[in-house]
């Protein structure tokens, strides 16, 4: 399913001036989604759905900042509002456009991974970074900022 789908290559949110490359990622040693170390690139969970698939969530996740690289462009994700258009450009095939339906801060411990990474439900885009207060001694950021968008007709 995901294997036949073109690989997403670029994430663009014109309303907030967000435009960054997408790299395919998998699972980190600790069982969490692996993210590109550089916050200027966002990761795509390659075992889940792709933008060309007829079902499931396309999950993009990236670091909002890093000790090494500083704050990244995903800082702007917080400015995204319901109704904004999100574009996912792929290596092949048409640009897929989504409209934001929800922007939420979710405590990491309460992140519903079954919903977020759903492969069988309706087509969706989930863009995830981190948010909330930062606690270096307690795992860093407390929350995940999750932008959920539905495909535009």
């Amino acid at each position: 399913m995901a294997a036949q789908s073109p690989t997403p290559a670029r994430l663009v949110v014109p309303a907030v001036g967000l435009d960054l490359p997408i790299a395919a990622t998998g699972v980190a040693e600790d069982g969490q989604m692996a993210l590109p170390p550089d916050p200027r690139t966002i990761g795509w969970y390659r075992y889940g759905s792709g933008p060309g698939d007829r079902v499931g969530s396309v999950v993009l996740g990236g670091h909002v900042d890093s000790r090494e690289f500083g704050a990244g462009p995903l800082v702007r994700l917080r400015k995204v509002r319901r109704g904004d258009v999100v574009e996912v450009r792929s290596t092949a095939g048409p640009v897929v456009r989504y409209r934001v339906v929800e922007v939420r801060d979710i405590p990491k411990k309460k992140l519903a991974v079954g919903y977020l990474f759903d492969r069988a439900g309706p087509r969706r885009l989930q863009v995830v970074t981190c948010g909330g207060p930062y606690d270096a001694g307690n795992g860093g950021y407390r929350d995940n900022l999750v932008v959920t968008a539905d495909p535009m007709p």
Binding site: Y47, H63, C130
Partner: protein, 275 residues
Amino acid sequence: MAVRRATALTAAGLLLVGVPAATAQARPAATATVSVLHAVPGATVDVYANGKVLLSNFKPGTLTDPVKLPEGSYDLKVTAAGAGAKGKAVIEADDVKVPGGANITVVAHLNASGTPVLTPYVNDVSKVAAGKGRLTVRHDAAAPAVDIRAGGTPVFKGLANPKEAKADLPAGTVKADVVLAGTKTVAIGPADVNVKEGTNTIVYAWGSAGDKNLKLAVQTLSGLHHNPSGVPGGTGGQAAQNDSVPVWAWGLAVLAAIGVVGFGTLRLARVPARS
């Protein structure tokens, strides 16, 4: 070819051992998911279950799509294609238990000495850790025990007909081959085996070493994935939200600004981190 009634006992036994009894008891009207693989070289056959035709004109190397069968006991009979329900059995297995909720592949294959038999296998459809796939290997060939190697290293050793071996591996392509157990004599392959994430990839070695027609058949059972446990955050802290800074912290900031508190800047940087 001779009728193999002895297989029936083996078949029922395997099924009972492989499935927790609770599964069948908890859901009395459950169905089982059953696939059939024809791995006897040369013979196109018909398959009957309880006297009714289940498969017709079934060709070697063919794997059926899974079908749902009500749980229960089945008398299975394989005949030459077109021989009819009362035709002579090539293989026969009576009272094969099909437990509800199980995922089963029934394989018609040669035993180690080349006689056609039926072996039902219970497929492991339990969840696989995120990012991993399951590889199952089944020896259904008229051949001695073998080792299965990945990238030249034996991963499953001494596998004999009709045994299986399995492992959960990082998803990706494995260059696999089959060698005679304990040797470097390649019997099959090498072949690229795609261990798909969240999928049980079942590889069957079938055919006959003596007739030099050893082959591989592959069955995949998907949807066994686990999700990642979460999405990690940044490591810098530069983008932390200031709205969570408590009021007294702002007070400190003001005091720091007018030089009342020494190390004020340092303190301020740490304050939001604790909230």
